[in-house]
Symmetry: C2
Subunit: 233 residues, 2 copies
């Protein structure tokens, strides 16, 4: 089990390292921070240039617009999940249900991933970024869950009559409802919420949240509580 986790971590790290160059990496790091601090709308191209000491041409060589940078931030995030998913789908030594669990663990229990999510919490308050994310969570991300759930219907590990609905709900509830930045909760509240989700998913034949995953998800998501909430708690 530990070996498996190491493999997944390596996959995640590899994906992070695949940015095409130092400048691009610097631009993305800067923009992620600026978007989080000032909001997407209020961050100007000039702000980005000032922060990096870069010329307009230097920036436009990599990205044609602010929107293109945002798309790239989202695409990078997605690429990590997509690569992990591809690796998981190929494996013959696990049921689809176990693969789905690994995918969820990778989202809530990988320090790198959590750091990235944490850096985007403020950004999620920005309407343009939030709306783009919601759209992704309602359209493209469910397709990934769907492929694993269909495998589970085939191998009998996910005996559901609602594969499409389960895929949509895992994506929507996992990325929105479970997130303490949208629905504040302390640790106990988070565990209760995840037990509620587990009960509902069990009822539609998607028994992905066993006791271990409930507790790991609780820990991972509690760690995403925005700082102002923990400070005042």
């Amino acid at each position: 089990m530990l070996d498996r986790d190491m493999n997944e971590r390596q996959v995640i790290r590899m994906a992070h390292d695949m940015h095409s160059g130092d400048t691009e990496r610097r631009i993305l790091d800067s923009v992620r921070r600026l978007f989080a601090e000032k909001g997407y709308e209020k961050t100007s191209i000039q702000d980005i240039l000032d922060d990096l000491g870069l010329s307009k041409g230097g920036l436009y060589h990599h990205f044609k617009s602010k929107e293109a940078i945002l798309d790239r931030l989202n695409a990078d995030e997605w690429a990590v999940t997509a690569r992990l998913l591809d690796k998981l789908i190929e494996r013959k030594d696990m049921s689809a249900l176990e693969k789905l669990r690994v995918l969820i663990v990778s989202a809530v229990d990988a320090p790198d991933h959590l750091d990235l999510v944490r850096s985007q919490l403020a950004l999620l308050k920005d309407p343009a970024f939030f709306t783009a994310n919601m759209r992704f969570w309602s359209t493209r991300l469910p397709e990934s869950f769907r492929s694993l759930i269909d495998m589970g219907v085939q191998d009998g590990s996910i005996p559901t009559a609602y594969p499409e609905e389960a895929a949509q709900l895992l994506s929507l509830l996992g990325n929105y409802w479970l997130m303490p930045c949208f629905y504040p909760a302390d640790r106990a509240g988070m565990e209760h919420r995840i037990r509620c989700l587990a009960t509902m998913l069990d009822a539609i034949g998607v028994p992905v949240f066993d006791e271990t995953l409930i507790l790991r998800t609780t820990e991972g998501l509690t760690a995403l509580t925005p700082e102002e909430d923990t400070a005042s708690a």
Copy 2:
């Protein structure tokens, strides 16, 4: 009937308010119809003026922008729900579960309400409007569901260990996941989705979707399919 103590100034003021109320009512009726027919984005201020035979100044006296009119329509719409909720809470002849069903029926089965929702479908693509709605659905609306669910825990009709979670999910899933503009579905797909929701809510002790409500909700929400979808279907 005039109060004897009312002075002339107050009478003039009252007359002005009454007249002002009439114009406002006329504006809101017109705009609601125009938004429903043409959609929010495609309705111009000039369309509204033409429809009412009103001057620009006459309109701006009441509303500073198209967005302000929409805010007002939303606030009015919410007030209708809030009043219905108050009335329902007072009734002694129904269980809390039955009251919750009435509330849901009023949202999916009232022609006026559906017209307003339909008129806003295009608008929900606007990031600012969408984000504001999502925030309302995750914060204020669940409070209303929560008051009824708590009553149901008391009277035994809603035997749930997850009152807060159920309130959040009814609001989020009912306003977002069930909506065909966000998650496209034909009639059969919509019914399947609602049966999935019914199964999940049953499992957490919130048996609100009985066979009747499943079918009424299916009809109401299928009618909200954006026109470009039905045209191409």
